[in-house]
Structures are given as C-alpha cells and as structure tokens.
C-alpha cells in the first residue's frame, strides 16, 4: 500500500468510504508525520487525540452504514488564528499565551461537522502580519523546500499562513486552513508548491477568527491540488448569523462543478501587473500560463487596471488602521498576558502589557494604524485610502466587461531565505504586490503551482475572479494545474 501521508483530501475521503483503509490508519500516519517534523516548526500545538477521535467517529459511521461527512476521515491542520474550543489559540503572539478559547470558530466547527479531525494548530506570522513567517513569537516556520544550489539556506514558507503551507508541502497534513488579508493564503501556497484559494469576502464566517483587518480577512483552504481545495472550501463556507459580514448566499457544489475546459471563457491579462524589475522567470511563467489557458480553449485579452500601483500603499493604510482598532482588545484585562509593574496604574498596565506582549512587526503596524487614524491625519490617509479602494474595485468591475477571470503571477519571486528581507519592512510589504488588489476588492483568488525557478523552487500563478465566482477561479486553476503537471516535492531533510 502507498504511504497514506502521500494521499490528498479526495483520495483519503474516497479510500475511507470504500474501505481501502481506515480513518484511524490515516490519522495515525499523519500524527506520526507531524511528530517527526519538529525542525519545520510548523505546529504550535499538536492534537493527535482530536484527529484520532474524528477518525474513530468516521470509521464507526462507515461500519454502521451511516452517511459520511464530506471530510470524514480526513485529518487537517488548523491555522492558529482560528479559535478552537479547549485548545490554546495564540495567533502566534505572546500576548495570547495561556488563552484557551471557550468556543469554536464557525469555520472550524463546520470542518468538524463534515468529519474532519485536527492534527494541531499551525504556526503563522504573529496576528497574520508578515509575508515570511518570521514574526511568530514561537520561532520561524521553515519551508520544507531547499534550493538545489547545495547552499542549504533555510527558506521562508511564505506568510502569514506559513505553518499551513509548510505542513501541506511536507505531507504533514493533506489540507490546512489559512486566512488571507492581503495574500496570506496565496503567497505561501506559491512559495511551497501547493494550491490555496481565498474565496469572496464574506463566504467564510469570520466568527471566532482572531481579527487582523476586518474588511479584508477571509479564511480559505490550502491543499495539494485544486480539487482538494474545492472540497475543503465547500465544507468551510456558508452563511453565519454570528458574523454580520457573512454573505447569505447558497454554497455551490464546487467539486461537482469542476471543469478544466475554458472554451468560451475570456482570460484577462492586466497590463499593470508587469512591475519594474520583475524577474525573467516570473515573466516566463506568466507567458507559459497564458499559453496554457489558450490551450484550454480560452480567449486571452489584455485588460487595464489603472490603479494597481496604488493598491499596496492603500492596503498599508487600511490594514494597519483596522489592526490598531482590532488589537486594542489585548489590554491585559480579559485574556492572555498581563504585565503589571510595581505600583502601575491602569494605563501603565495596558502599556506595559502591550509592549511586552506584541512583536515588533505588530507594534509597527499598530503605530502606523494609530498614526493614520489620529486627528489631523485621518482624512489625508484613511479617507483617501478608502477612496482609492473604491477606484481599485471599479477597475476590476470594468475589467469584467471584457473578461471572466484574470491571470497573473502570485508573487514577484520564488521563496527567499529566512532573514533575507526581514530587516527592511517595506521590501517585505512589496512581496504582496500581486495579491493585495484583489483583497481590497474582496474578490476570490487562487494560487496554483506553475513550475520551478532555476534553483528548483516552486512558482505560483494566480487566478482572480468575479465576486462569488469561485467556480470560475477553480476551473481556470484546474486548467492550469492539468497542463503544468507539477509533481515536484521537497526532499525530506527534517
């Protein structure tokens, strides 16, 4: 029998259903893989018993001939941004050390109801702020990939969902949850050679997801291929009365609707995504992607999104502004850490707690957010950014007049080495240049592996779709996936 950890979500689901193997065997194999992969630092908390309990429930349901959930027997990893009842959730920050949620996030609840089990809580950039997983309070996540130049440099798994991308790429779990505020599912998926989709804003409930920037945050799945993402996204999505921004619309049967033929579809190539100094390999991959969608029957058209260059600066006003507001709740009173210097009053306690509890990048963003929202600067920065956001969304609306989906690279480079960019916050922010515009417009967007760079590292292609057209995004991604034939995987060194 093949190694069970080599199987994806669909293969595990089908194999458990038809009795090729038991869910317990699957959970046991993945629990062992997780336990053996400490050098990746992908998991903050391991929950082997949770995975086994779900597996036993799946096996029992099968034995009794009961209907099996869509993820019955599938163990997954859970990004630590999701509150999980009785299991510590820290958002990779010291300030939430010791916090054990008394409730379950809606997304994780839906996954458990579909029969999934939890292997553990996945490391991430602190409060989802970062593009490299170097801002976790509990150490960097290391990518399972290595350059083929013999240098053995430890590489960034991308961020902020870097524990998720590292764990899926290293076969520690067949799928994992991620969250995406400005690219935090797509960029790590691209860096590690896996797939990940950020659905339309409002598809997945944010209830019980530790908030970073509320108008942008959206959960989504990360898995080895497009079909597995479709299966998992179906289980995660749906209306939730507890989240006022949740969309009250039906969840389509995305897996059933998968179709790699793009005949009659128009794929837009946004002219403004050709950024200065874009590496040749990224440009070549993009051209290859264009050839693939043509081969799948699509008509390729050039489109213009004139406000693209302003998306990133607008994002770095809006996201920190919302973060400064959302993170005000970490004050040492209701949960997590408290730092109470001798004789300190309430204000001093807040300030000491927050100084000790937050990491440097989180503090930097809270300060930027506080500054742009402060009296005298609010209109110049925040209102202007919100207006630019309107223009960016209008650019996309206009593009949909001439095309059905957009095709772009996911990130401007392959994975960089840990430490390579961390000294320059601005250089790090620029990594999100291709993913941020669609986030600001709330659109569904997906990264699929397209090929390898000259060092043997994965590169991703991004498909962006209309609001609520996840199917169109998944189908275009599937067309690319089938033609890319991406089978490279990291060699185990951990």
């Amino acid at each position: 029998m093949t190694d069970l950890t080599d199987l994806g979500i669909r293969e595990i689901r089908d194999g458990v259903r038809d009795g090729s193997f038991s869910a317990r065997e699957v959970a046991t194999a993945f629990n062992a893989a997780v336990a053996a992969a400490k050098p990746l630092n992908a998991f903050l908390v391991e929950t082997p018993d949770h995975a086994l309990a779900a597996a036993d429930a799946a096996d029992a349901a099968r034995a009794k001939g009961e209907t099996m959930g869509s993820l019955a027997g599938v163990p997954i990893g859970m990004k630590d941004l999701f509150c999980t009842k009785g299991v510590p959730s820290t958002a990779a920050s010291h300030i939430l050390e010791g916090f054990t949620p008394q409730y379950e996030s809606t997304v994780s609840q839906r996954l458990w109801e579909a029969g999934a089990g939890m292997l553990g809580k996945l490391n991430m950039d602190q409060f989802a702020m970062g593009s490299s997983n170097e801002t976790s309070a509990f150490g960097n996540v290391v990518s399972p990939w290595r350059r083929n130049d013999g240098g053995n440099a430890a590489l960034a798994p991308g961020g902020s969902s870097g524990g998720s991308s590292s764990a899926v790429a290293a076969r520690l779990c067949p799928g994992a949850t991620g969250t995406d505020t400005g690219g935090s599912i797509r960029q790590p998926a691209a860096f590690t050679g896996i797939s990940g989709i950020k659905p339309t804003y409002g598809r997945c409930s944010r209830w019980g997801v530790i908030a970073f920037a509320s108008s942008l945050d959206q959960a989504g799945p990360m898995a080895r291929d497009v079909r597995d993402c479709a299966i998992m996204l179906e289980a995660m999505s749906g209306f939730d009365a507890k989240d006022s921004t949740s969309l009250d619309v039906a969840v389509p049967k995305w897996e059933q609707g998968l179709n790699a033929s793009l005949a009659g579809k128009r794929v837009g190539i946004p002219r403004e995504y050709r950024v200065d100094n874009m590496p040749e390999e990224i440009e070549a991959l993009w051209q290859q992607g264009i050839a693939w969608v043509k081969d799948a029957g699509a008509e390729v058209v050039e489109v213009s999104l004139p406000h693209t260059k302003y998306a990133l600066p607008a994002y770095y006003i809006i996201a920190p502004a919302e973060a400064s507001s959302n993170l005000a709740r970490y004050d040492g009173v209701r949960y997590g850490q408290r730092d109470l210097p001798d004789g300190a009053n309430l204000q001093a306690m807040y300030a000491a707690t927050r100084a000790a509890g937050f990491g440097e990048e989180v503090k930097r963003r809270i300060l930027i957010g506080t500054y742009v929202l402060s009296a005298g600067f609010y209109d110049a920065y925040f209102t202007q950014a919100s207006k630019v956001r309107t223009l960016i969304a209008q650019d996309f609306d206009r593009a949909w007049g001439t095309c059905d989906v957009l095709l772009t690279p996911t990130a401007p480079s392959a994975a960089f080495a840990l430490g390579e960019k961390s000294a320059d916050p601005l250089a790090m922010y620029l990594n999100d240049v291709f993913t941020v515009p669609s986030s600001l417009a709330g659109l569904p967007a997906m990264s699929v592996p397209g090929g390898l760079d000259k060092h043997g590292l994965p590169l991703g292609l991004q498909v962006i779709g209309k609001a609520l057209d996840e199917q169109g995004v998944l189908n275009a991604a599937l067309a690319i996936e089938e033609r890319a034939g991406f089978v490279a995987r990291p060699q185990a060194w951990w």
Binding site: A241, D248, P313, D331, V333, A344, Y371, V388, G442, A467
Partner: protein
C-alpha cells in the same frame, strides 16, 4: 509628512504601548520610510469618489430582539467569559485601582 521621536512617542501613548527612547529613535526612520511610500496616494484624483464602506454589497442585518437567542453570544456565560482573565475575582475582571 514625517514623524520625529516626540511624535512616535505620542502615537505610542495613544496606542497604549510603552516605548523607550531607543525604540522610538529606531522607529523614526522605519515609519518615515513607510509613510513616505504611502504618501504617493496623494497623487490620485479622488474628487467625487466615495470612500469604500463595504467591500461586497451586503444588506445590513439586524437580529431579532430576543434575549439570549444564541447560547454562545446571548449572555449568561459569566464563567466562560472570565475563564481566560489574568485576574478575576467575585465574578468580575479585576484591574489596578482606578479611583483613590
């Protein structure tokens, strides 16, 4: 616009984050670098453009006015609410003395 050490300290105080002189000085060029970069938004003509308030059109929902309609968000779960408090006494969060 650019910030100096005093501004950084003032913003930190508004954000309720204790900050020492050394950190404030280190943050000045970092924040100026970022603020200088985001200032390019000023180039965009936004006259007549409404600021975005909702990214996806969505109807504002109001819940039914029913006490404790949802077991989780309704209320009556004091122990669960206090379970993670660094310090709780007599069913309340406790903080340093505020009134002398």
């Amino acid at each position: 616009m650019s910030v100096d050490t005093a501004t950084v300290k003032k913003v930190a105080s508004l954000a309720r984050i204790a900050i020492d002189d050394e950190s404030a000085e280190r943050l000045v060029p970092e924040l100026n670098n970022i603020l200088g970069w985001i200032e390019q938004l000023g180039e965009v003509d936004t006259s007549g453009v409404a600021p975005m308030t909702a990214v996806i059109a969505n109807k504002q929902r109001l819940r039914d006015d029913v006490i404790n309609a949802d077991a989780l968000t309704g209320g009556g779960i004091r122990e669960a609410v206090l379970a993670n408090a660094p310090q709780a006494e007599h069913g309340f969060f406790t903080v340093p003395k505020v009134i002398e």
